[in-house]
Amino acid sequence: MATATFRIWRGERGQGSFQDYSTEVSAGMVILDAVHQIQAEHAGDLAVRWNCKAGKCGSCSAEINGMPKLMCMTRLNSLPLDKPVTVEPMKAFPHMKDLVTDVSWNYEVKKRIPKFQPRKPDAQDGTWRIAPEDVDRVQEFRKCIECYLCQDVCHVLRDHHMHDEFIGPRFLVYTAALEMHPLDVGDRREELRRQFGVGLCNITKCCTKVCPESITITDNAIIPLKERVVDRFFDPLSKLFRVFSNSKQ
């Protein structure tokens, strides 16, 4: 069995330092396995949030060698083990202890997004009819596991700390899922522009790159939302065209 060194951030509330731990690694191990092994062997008080170990709960988000990743989905054979592997908490959220951050800001943001507003039922019994091809587009967004890696990698939140002006990629995806839903009749474009800060996204596609569910966040959610905002606020021609063509969503 080979030995690898893991450089793990230890400390509380933003204060702390990296500490090196060496442990034996074997084929098939992921970062979370190594962290658990280090907990068992060297640091029983190492704080780490985890749950499913299957890439579906979104709990074990961290930064591995500088990139936001799920610890349970990052195989050691995908990393160079000749150098220490750095494992640190997400930087876009308040630090709590070791690898754990306080992501509750995200829950507050979600509450502010206007909820699903279905049209009147299609049938007498109060049910709706939806064509499969119409739900295909929003189905992709429902894969989100809310790991908040996209929020963490987004430079608007990570580097510029504009949490009060920008809801981040995760919630632009959530808004897109509502806005593009074939039953929804709500209009969130005013909020998208003024309060949710869709114009702050400068399309670096880092969110798409780190998404463990491979959601095409930028191309399929954020840019279509930007285009809808353009429809409403910046394109008098298309607005006029849709008024005269009586085009409805």
Partner: protein
């Protein structure tokens, strides 16, 4: 808006714990775009060697003023002599590329380092994004799309013209160069995010509208390869100009296939 009390730990410019060669991609984007900007500016300033036989360089198509084949004949007196036919038109396809969603993301990283790459520290503390002047102007992209679509028709006409050598049908290597350029530019333009929105993306329901649904699916297909076509078409349009230019200067010989 919900606020968060995040300790303001800001990474310095270029600071990152990434172990990979994160700087390679922005460097290639910087070099690729810079090369194209320098070459296209130089070519646009030349005002000559843009025609060879039935071939017309895409940088000079349409030729509004200038030679005998120009749409409106010789340059009018009010037009300064240093203004070439390319300078009159290149702002349109140039504007389409500058405001393109793919290129925006690419040059914000490569030229503005905003950010240089994912999780790499930025040089500036202030950030405005695209919600205020000057970058709010990027929202004009769909208007440049309309112009780009017109240019595709004009370039298709140029390919048609490139099939006729002194009134006789024929195909030369130059014909294929112009045709390839047209196909790549079309693939790039038809994959535009704004085009995707306009053909169907603005609707929540496409069921029952088979033509619109087909158009949306086709554009989405091109859109998935938008970056690839952006680069291929950038290269092809530059190469098409270079080919016509070097043939016109007698440096390259245009092979007639039949």
């Amino acid at each position: 808006m919900s606020q968060v009390d995040v300790p303001l730990v800001r990474a310095g410019f270029g600071e990152t714990r990434r172990a990979d060669n994160w700087w390679v991609q922005p460097l290639f984007v910087f070099l690729g775009l810079s090369t194209f900007i320098v070459y296209s500016t130089w070519a646009a300033l030349q005002g000559q060697h843009f025609r060879f036989g039935p071939y017309l360089s895409p940088f000079y198509s349409p030729e509004l003023f200038g030679s005998a084949e120009a749409w409106f004949g010789a340059s009018p007196k009010w037009l300064p002599a240093w203004v070439t036919a390319a300078m009159l038109i290149l702002w349109a396809p140039g504007g389409f590329r500058v405001t393109c969603y793919y290129y925006r993301g690419a040059y914000y990283k490569a030229f503005w380092a905003d950010p240089p790459s994912c999780t790499v520290g930025e040089p500036r503390k202030k950030y405005l994004g695209e919600r205020s002047f000057p970058l709010i102007i990027q929202n004009i992209h769909r208007y440049f799309l309309y112009l780009a679509l017109i240019f595709l028709v004009l370039l298709a006409h140029d390919v048609w013209d490139a099939l006729w050598f002194d009134g006789h049908f024929g195909i030369g290597v130059g014909t294929l160069v112009l045709l390839t350029n047209l196909l790549l530019l079309s693939s790039y333009t038809f994959g535009c995010h704004s085009f995707r929105h306009l053909v169907g993306g603005f609707r929540d329901r496409l069921a029952g509208r088979p033509v619109r649904k087909l158009a949306y699916d086709c554009v989405s297909c091109f859109n998935r390869r938008h970056m690839l076509f952006a680069w291929c078409s950038l290269f092809s349009v530059g190469f098409a100009d270079l080919y016509v230019r070097l043939c016109s200067m007698g440096i390259w010989h245009d092979w007639r296939i039949f």
